[in-house]
């Protein structure tokens, strides 16, 4: 299903933002909010996983139903999961399309990666001693 990716801040994201290796941060940053009708069209329920694909890449997220999100839109809090599929093109403004990235949404059984694993996909090495 073709959708527009919208991103933004949330309180749970803000409270966990300085603990990016934590399970709490992973849970809020990898949550994908979808309109219930779109979820029905995809044949998925709360907690199911979806693979979101854009020209920049793909990422697996966990689905949350949200009536406030309009059909054809998905909402993901700002963070490494959303950014894994956002293009770095800024159209000469310095600002990427954080709120209007076209994406494809499909159900998947693939696992959700940790923030460390996402960073390792782009050449990093996780640091998990605390």
């Amino acid at each position: 299903m073709k959708c527009i990716l919208n991103t933004g801040r949330t309180v749970p994201q803000g409270t966990a933002v300085e603990h990016k290796g934590s399970d709490a941060y992973r849970a809020v940053a990898s949550a994908c909010f979808l309109n219930p009708v779109d979820m029905m069209m995809l044949g998925i329920e709360n907690g199911a996983r979806v693979r979101i694909t854009s020209p920049a890449g793909h990422v697996v997220l966990s689905v949350c139903s949200a009536e406030g999100v309009t059909r054809g839109e998905i909402f993901v809090t700002i963070g490494p999961y959303a950014n894994h599929i956002i293009s770095s093109e800024t159209h000469g403004t310095g600002m990427p399309d954080f709120k209007s990235q076209s994406v494809n949404v499909e159900p998947t059984e693939e696992p959700i990666l940790s923030v460390g694993e996402l960073m390792e996909e782009i050449g990093g090495l996780r640091y998990d001693r605390q």
Binding site: S88, K99, V115, G124
Partner: protein, 429 residues
């Protein structure tokens, strides 16, 4: 020990009425703060010592070694990028600008992926703004456009707008009309007197329609504009024109969506139009605690608020070219110093990926996503927790951040001064 009148350094509200209970090097209770403030003060876990990436893991290194290697990396780089700066104090930001000038670096701050487009619009048409104190005491119409204060600035409404008792607005909840414009329904839209649910990317059209109606040209408006009925647009325009004092607050819903800085320009021009009828002001909802300060410090030192390139020996500013995301996307920089921010989490994938290909040094109190992309991470104090310094609130008011505990970490301004000294043959900035 109880410490009162503490400033929360988390978001651009810089609430300065917190009361903390401190036991030794820990904050054990936060009063008056929102849940973001509580997390900031009470769950403040740090990287214990500087670390360096090896072939197959991480090793602890000393501060002296980390500072020396950072200086060597910056000295050897042809096009270094110095990025971040928004979660630290002005004292560290100013040393950062000195380093950029000394080594001919590009220095950019987080407004590049936040309200940078708002600054571009303000440079085009000006900023009819005011302090939050004026809004609190006078505004009877509040517009939140493309922002969600309940989630991102949880005390904005209770301290300055919807629920705040003002001198000329004694019964705030009854006397203030709240208008919210957003693409999706959320907690903020739930308390609005008027909620305009705009189609994604439709903000520019809605702003233009409101401008036309305020000008008396409502006959040209079609039945619906980007999902909003003509009747509602006319009703909202009337509320605005009849306000005693109106205040528009806008967020990343304008700066990040289609049109970007042109959306903000249109919103400022709507404010201009409304000032032909009554008093109206507009201000961005700044995100990081001291992101406004990074714009102030950069501007008074270089003439430009962000994306400043010193490669020519003089300050050069061209957003879209000298902005951090563009420099990383083009794989142009060959070293990076990241201070008080997390581009690993907040930059698009390709831009963040380049940080892992070059020697990247992070100076930040916390382990974050950029740690994984870095070569060295140097922990430091957190401004407003164990370091004092100056920060600027979202309305441009400078506020002194307090040091409430001592945790034994060096101040990032001190680390940066030592790096500067090494780059400058022992001479300080």
């Amino acid at each position: 020990m109880i410490v009162s009148d503490v400033v929360c350094p988390f978001c651009g509200c810089l609430c300065d009425d917190l009361e903390l209970e401190v036991e030794g090097d820990r904050v054990v209770r936060v009063q008056n703060g929102c849940s973001l403030a509580e997390a900031t003060f009470m769950h403040d876990t740090r990287l214990p010592t500087p670390i360096r990436r090896t072939k197959n893991g991480w090793e602890d290194i000393s501060y002296d070694e980390a500072i020396k290697e950072t200086a060597d990396i910056l000295k050897e780089a042809d096009r270094p990028l110095l990025y971040g700066w928004s979660s630290t104090h002005g004292e560290a930001q100013s040393v950062g600008v000195h380093i950029a000038e000394l080594i001919g670096a590009v220095i950019d701050n987080t407004s590049t992926v936040c309200h940078g487009p708002s600054i571009l619009a303000i440079q085009e048409v000006g900023h009819p703004g005011c302090t939050l104190g004026q809004v609190k005491n006078r505004a009877d119409v509040i517009i939140y456009w493309g922002c969600n204060p309940i989630e991102a600035h949880p005390r904005h409404m209770s301290r300055y707008t919807t629920y705040a008792t003002g001198f000329f607005v004694p019964d705030a909840q009854r006397e203030r009309t709240v208008i919210v414009v957003d693409t999706r329904r959320n907690d903020t839209t739930g308390i609005a007197d008027e909620f305009l649910q705009v189609e994604p990317g439709g903000d520019y059209a809605v702003l233009s329609a409101l401008r036309a109606i305020v000008r008396g040209k409502e006959s040209v408006i079609p039945k619906k504009v980007a999902g909003i009925s003509k009747e509602q647009l006319i009703r909202v325009a009337e509320i605005c024109k009849n306000a005693k004092f109106g205040a528009i607050f806008f967020g990343l819903g304008l700066t990040m969506s289609r049109g970007k800085y042109k959306n903000v320009r249109n919103a400022i021009e709507l404010t201009d139009e409304l000032n032909r009828h009554t008093k109206f002001v507009i201000s961005p909802m700044r995100g990081h605690g001291n992101v406004y300060g990074s714009n102030e410090v950069f501007t008074w030192m270089t003439g430009y608020p962000f994306a400043v390139d010193f490669a020519r020996g003089i300050a050069f500013y061209n957003p879209g070219e000298t902005t951090a995301v563009d420099i990383l996307r083009r794989e142009e920089c060959d070293a990076a110093l990241i201070v008080a921010s997390d581009p690993g989490a907040n930059f698009p994938r390709d831009a963040a990926a380049h940080l892992a290909k070059i020697p990247t040094v992070v100076i930040d109190p916390h382990v974050n996503a950029t740690t994984a992309l870095s070569h060295i991470h140097i922990p430091c104090t957190a401004a407003g927790i164990d370091a004092a310094g100056t920060a600027y609130r979202m309305d441009g008011v400078p506020i002194r951040l307090k040091k409430v505990i001592e945790r034994g970490y060096p101040d990032d301004a001190e680390i940066l001064k030592k790096i500067y000294d090494r780059l400058n043959g022992g001479m300080g900035p």
